[in-house]
Symmetry: D2
Subunit: 314 residues, 4 copies
């Protein structure tokens, strides 16, 4: 029985999310294989390459020039994304780029143009679009049971700040950008009406208006303690759909002082474990011609524009 | 606008459940009014009568002879129930009798015969039949969505023992009798297959076979600490229906150590507050000719027979 | 045993909420009794008076002059509230006034001043403050388990529009005013940052900033179809607390197509049945000197100011 | 960085569960690798071997003789298990054997003796011991928050019969054996008090008594339609712990007719996906000396004895 060749992918940028992608490609992504890893920090790249039994590089150029890759997974710092995307596109490689596509719309637009000119695929890491709960929400909306959308409401909260150096800009452009993309995905084009931030940038609220006339409310928080939550509800003309905050386990203790249930997922890696695998499996399928892109450069640009407007509104 | 006269009822036996019925009749039962209370303990009767502004007696005979009552609510010790029911029937009064109808089937059968001969109504205090959740379970079964019944499963647990002197017999005849009545109500006639008790009679399990071929599993516990629970599920050929263990409030705290929800209802008085009102409202409606009896002497006898068989099986 | 005299109260304005208050006073409110009802529509007043066996009037002046009342419950159209409150205060009667206290701040301030001058009590009908779930939320916040408040989030949705003539103003001043009062009650003083409305005024969103620096997000909807919801969450520095959307029953059907649970409460009367009783019981206790007021004219004025600002922002 | 060698394992018997184990070993089990597959049906073995890029055999003897294996995963028909286990032990291979270890206690005891004599490991496929929810239940019990066990209650229901030829014996020895093992794991040694079956063997109930005096109630059903459920509760002297029936997704639709949530897991493969991986990962760790066995031949024998007694009691 002939087997379809697995897409040969390399991961560039080996911070937390890059290592997660590399681990998934090495062990869990149908249709893909990890061919190499790259990072400017040579010991980091070497260690990870050894763990997965693959090649490593410290230069992106060398990686592109010397290895027979089908595509690259870019997880470098956000500011570097547009240049790396352009470089990969010039080398004819399909690109999976972590969100955000960049920090400035102009650079991102250039990257998208380069990708289009090269005829390669660009998929952006909005993994929520591959989460089973969020996909079910979308199916519910498409299915008509809740009617037409009146309000998109979304809460996005981290238990602990994702890293130490995060500032207010990051809260919007790195965190809330997921919610802005989800808003567009579920409600169509939207504009930022208002945004407000908590002291020290620990959280923010954003109000949206969709072109359809529907409204949107987003809250983000970087230090909610109780776990990682990205819940949403779609209030429609005939009903409301929710996707929630799954507990780590389905267990409950019934005690005299009340019912105690298992904690929520600790962070996005745990909450979205399936989605991170599914998005790369989809990318592999796109690379091999078996699937159409689901979230592309235009989506990334639109989300970044909303994020930048929200950040300005603060 | 003419108003239907309220049924004039007296409560006999002023222990915990008798006082609850009196309080409901005085304040919350549509179509009924509390006319008098009676107990052999004169100070108890006097105090309660003063609180509700009604007459009191220490003799059941005097109560029946001297007051213009439509019916009586009997909440005396269980062993006395059959004699009191017969006496009330002889006086032509409609009877609401707390469960169990008595402790011995022969005496209960005589009481039922007396009621029939007198042409009065006998309603027995299986309040679960008036609970909104349990009634919804019955409607679901009748509606066909879960198909035909295969398994009736029920958990009946008190946070604390209802009183100090309760023994193993009481656990079945006073506590599990609710579940045996519920089993018959939802599944039809049944036989006890097996019963087993925990050390010191703190709990028991009962296995049933319904005439339909369906099975039943009941567990009762008198000291479960976490609250009062009477939950059930009906496993059917096309689906399963559950009614649960309602929390006292619909609130949740999300903390790093997990989710903490409000405790369950503390006891049957809290859990079944609505059912205790509804069963007396129904009795009042029966007394005034506006409704048909829902749970009668034959039901009480059948439940007592099952309870006695389960107690023997232990 | 001497019993405390029940507070003698009359209900003025016999629309839907007025009839509900009258029914509660007649049947369910500890410490109070319904003495009379009044409405300019004589047949309406006569019919309700007959049902409850009390006096009726079509003139508020006559009611105040001729009956020995301890207080009045004002449920007339909102625009009339300030004048009626002033008239009752002048007659030395304690006042329970439905929300809003009025439509214009100046008139309301005059009413509050009149009440203060007369030395009578004014309680405003923000029943959510007496709801067991919302009170539990407040206790959680006070207890410290979730730390200091960062975000107050609240959804307030009716299944069907409360009446036909409701406009956009009503959506804020009549509906969202509950949420604005709840925001103040739980988070302290606040200012409206932004508000937006759905087409045809079917819903709205409001953003708040509390003096503490915390943020608030409110969404209201008048035609959500699925039931009545007034849920909230308090995101704090150490955890989050939620109170939810209680189902009418605690039952579930497990079917091949998914789990189906009982519908939510249909409307505010069903959802807040206990709160409507509790607020009048509290008012009766205040009238009899046994309790302190919990929600007064200053609260009503502050909520109205927020509502008017939100309405202007639309 | 030196990496620990992965345990080389072969799967014998390529029915549904055998193929699942092979797929997990090939793709998802840390510390293990799939070296070969074997089945008497040559096309089946060839096809699966090609898919995973490994060797295949149609003879178990040849497999053991010719390949450098660390252990074998036996998923052949249950009646053949004891002979295959003995053969593998004689070849010095560690053994993972699907449940039940066999159908007759004598043959199983011989197999266990052979394993002991050979000094190899025998792990039996009670995957529930590796399920995160069930493990949490065990931790709760060990942690003391619910006190000492009074009642073990467990429901085990398949949406559809696992295969066509299943009879009543299978319902106990193949299905309920999981619950009997779980009962022993959580409650200690137990005896069957009673068992009863539904017509046509579609379900059964089993009553247990633990040596501690605690009671047990198990219900199994092979055609419950609504999904796969293996839920349990532990009623203890200080509280109760539950593990439930996880839904496939954490989504809800709120509609006028009620709340509709996602269906439960369809079958054991979906419900226990993580447990099936974890049990083989544990086996690999045992094979490599990094972990102690968690569920061994003595456990398998004890569960089989309970199952046989329950089957006889029907």
């Amino acid at each position: 029985m002939p087997t379809a060749r697995r897409a040969r992918l390399a991961v560039v940028g080996l911070g937390r999310i890059g290592r997660l992608h590399a681990d998934n490609l090495a062990n869990r992504v149908p249709g893909a294989e990890l061919s190499a890893v790259a990072d400017v920090d040579e010991p980091v790249a070497r260690e990870l390459a050894a763990r997965h039994g693959v090649a490593y590089m410290t230069s992106f150029d060398e990686l592109l020039d010397n290895l027979a890759l089908d595509g690259v997974v870019i997880a470098a710092p956000s500011a570097l994304h547009p240049a790396l995307v352009k470089r990969a596109a010039a080398a004819g490689k399909h690109v999976f780029c972590e969100k955000p596509l960049g920090l400035e719309c102009a650079a991102c637009a250039e990257a998208v143009a380069a990708v289009d000119a090269a005829g390669v695929t660009l998929q952006v890491g909005f993994q929520r679009r591959f989460d089973p709960d969020w996909r079910a929400l979308r199916r519910t909306l498409d299915g008509g049971s809740i009617g037409s959308l009146a309000l998109f409401r979304c809460s996005h909260r981290n238990a602990e700040p994702p890293n130490d150096e995060a500032g207010l800009g990051d809260l919007i452009v790195d965190v809330a950008i997921h919610d802005l993309d989800a808003a567009r995905w579920l409600g169509g084009e939207a504009a930022v009406l208002h945004a407000a931030a908590l002291p020290e940038g620990v959280g923010a609220t954003i109000s949206l208006r969709f072109e359809s006339g529907a409204l949107g409310l987003i809250d983000v928080h970087r230090h909610a303690r109780y776990g990682f939550e990205c819940s949403a509800e779609l209030v429609g003309s005939a009903g409301t759909a929710r996707c929630g905050y799954p507990a780590r386990r389905d267990t409950t203790e019934l005690l005299a002082r009340g019912s105690v249930s298992a904690p929520l997922a600790l962070d996005h890696a745990e909450r979205h474990a399936a989605a991170y695998i599914a998005e790369l499996a989809h990318f592999a399928a796109v690379v091999s011609g078996a699937a159409e892109p689901l979230v592309d450069g235009a989506d990334a640009l639109a989300a970044l524009r909303l994020a930048n407007r929200a950040a300005q509104a603060l």
